[in-house]
Amino acid sequence: MKMRSLQKILAILAVLTLTIGMVGVASAEDKVPLKIMVWGQTATMENGVKTILENNPDLAAKIEVEVVAGGQGDPEVAEKYRLALASGVPCADIIQLNYTQLSEFAMADAVLELDDVLGNVWDDMVDAAKVLCTFDGKIMAVPGAINTKLYYYRADIFDECGVDPTTWETVDDMIAASQKIQEKYPNCYIYNMSKASGAQDYGLYMLFMSFNARFTDDEGNYVLDSDPGVRKAFETLKKFYDSGICYDATDFSSGWEYGLAHGELIGQLTSNWFRYFVGVYAPDDSGKWTACEWPTEIKQGSEAGGSIYVIPTFSEHPEEAKEFLRLFRGDSKMAEEQFWSNNAVPTLKSAFDKITERAEHSYLIGNHDKSYWQIEYDCFNNGYYSIFPYTPKAAAEMSIVNSYSTKFFSGEKDLDTMLSELNMDLTMQIGNPFE
């Protein structure tokens, strides 16, 4: 009897387990799992997903979105992308990349074209977003964050000293303004560059873009030793370096953080992502910092373009991924919603027009009757936005360029020798970056 009861219980349990399992499978099958890989924190993307799904119940009923971090920075995400391509095991349906990496994956035919995602809103998109989405004349990505050049500065100190950076035409104007400020505030600096290593990374590349520099010719041969843009960029940075107006600290170093926190670094030629950090490092200076365009002589270009989202060819749910991205960046109402919930600056003109009048930044102030957001937005459409022609070996190139930049700024090598040796090393270590 006891044995029979036990058998019954076991049979019931088995049936229940099977039923629950099948229900579970059925409900999971109802929704398409969509995986989005980003770098750094997942919170921002998760907020974006939440906004999209809350406002689009039809899509919410159809897809189940999982946001995963591919690593701390974009190189780790690219590494996972490569690994997925090599192994044939998909890692995500939507991947966040830096524009610098797009050429590598686009040239390897590893990303889907996205004409049908952004085609309908193409005319409504800001100029910078159009540049950021395009590779080789095709729409290959959806814009994430557009990185434009902006000069951030302490409005209170600049106003007190009678300096208006919106009027700067040349680098010399900037140097003269610095001297004027230092007469009153001798410990304050309006730009930063390390004395030991000089300009590095994006600080260097932003200047390359100012002068339309190129690393390679059309055949893929390195031409840094003969490109006038590269030379002019180094000369201009050296002018800054030698002028004495620079605060001796590299971006994101402990010294840089100290300078911002203690009001010694009061200006920075940088990109609009600086707004994420200035309030963190100088929390007591809320309402004192503002921004404007770079001096006319060097305002051309951007900071590495910005971040983008691509759909890899190995995506298991490309149609759902496209539908999500269409709402994520190609829908005016959603763009507006995401701005209010996530501070995501819209890439659609129609969305931005609705928010500019009402929106104020919580930390940064505007100037010349423009709100901070309007200043940033204007840079998306000022006709100066362009992206450095990154090769598929951009990361390797940057590492080699950085090492030679240090040698140049430290005085170890003159400009001609440095450029010649740099070109030789790039040719030897990388060869043709497009092969």
Binding site: R82, A108, T250, D251, G255, K393, A395, S403, D425, Q429
Partner: protein, 290 residues
């Protein structure tokens, strides 16, 4: 006997898990990486064979030789002071002078080894920051400790040494424990003082421990990566060119999708580690034989 013959495969079954995992996770990747070191490969797509070009390019790259010199510097300049300090600490902890206090000091001295390298590097970054750093604030200077070609390698070295003392101390403590106390007792009866015991008994009997520590230190120093990358790293995560070691160059290539070149760097580092370890082993052996 017949049973043994029929069950000849049993021992092989027992070692099969290890052999299989060794083959899959060590031998195959090793052979694969060696093959890739003769190719241009972005990590996916077509493998383009280029012969010994990766090796040729590395050996003709000035930055490689700079990094090699710096790696050797990190190893040699660290070993002697760290050995002396940690050996002296180990002797003090082993002696009866400190008594029970030694139980408190041991974990404290070993603590830097337990701390994550990244966390330690961030703290060192704050201490040696050029603006507002502890050292510069105390001395009233503005040295770019972690950025200048002159100073950054010393800061990396200091951090490696600070982390290494605890590990060496434990190794030397275990070596000291293995020495028979009766030898010291006999020496004391014969009139030997503490210094004589140290130099004529402890040091000679610790030779094997020193050899082990020296080889282990050589291997870890030649593969140093995180200290330079975090302490002097730029926004892209690569170590500064004025402080990087060989492994930093390997990682730079790996992050850039130059898998062929990265594999070649890996094999060069492997050969250097083998040569250095063998040289140490042979020289110590010769001294012992003499």
């Amino acid at each position: 006997m017949r049973l043994y013959k029929r069950q000849w495969y049993i021992p092989y079954l027992f070692i099969a898990p290890f052999v299989l995992s060794f083959l899959i996770f060590f031998v195959v990747p090793t052979v694969y990486s060696f093959a890739l070191s003769f190719a241009k490969y972005p990590g996916y797509g077509v493998v383009k064979w280029i012969g010994t070009k990766n090796y040729y390019n590395i050996l003709h790259y000035s930055r490689f030789w700079d990094a090699l010199g710096r790696t050797m510097f990190y190893w040699i300049a660290k070993f002697i002071p760290v050995t002396v300090i940690s050996f002296m600490i180990a002797v003090c902890l082993k002696s009866s002078l400190l008594g029970r206090i030694s139980k408190v000091y041991k974990p404290i001295l070993f603590m830097p080894q337990v701390c994550a390298v990244t966390a330690s590097a961030l703290i060192f970054g704050l201490i040696f920051a050029n603006q507002g750093g502890v050292i510069n604030s105390l001395t009233g200077t503005t040295f770019a400790w972690t950025e200048s070609a002159t100073w950054s390698k010393w800061v990396v070295l200091l951090m490696m040494g600070w982390r290494g003392v605890g590990w060496f101390m434990v190794v030397y403590l275990s070596g000291l424990t293995s020495i028979n106390p009766e030898i010291y007792e006999a020496a004391r009866i014969d009139g030997a003082n503490a210094a004589q015991s140290l130099f004529h008994i402890t040091v000679p009997l610790m030779k094997q421990t020193f050899l082990f520590a020296f080889i282990m230190d050589a291997i870890s120093s030649l593969r140093m990566y995180t200290e330079a990358a975090v302490l002097t790293g730029n926004a892209g995560g690569n170590a500064s060119a004025v402080a990087e070691g060989l492994l930093n160059l390997l990682m730079t290539n790996l992050n850039s999708g130059n898998f062929g070149m990265a594999c070649a760097y890996g094999w060069i580092i492997f050969v250097i580690v083998c040569v250095v370890s063998m040289a140490i082993f042979v020289s110590m052996k010769e001294k012992e034989d003499a």
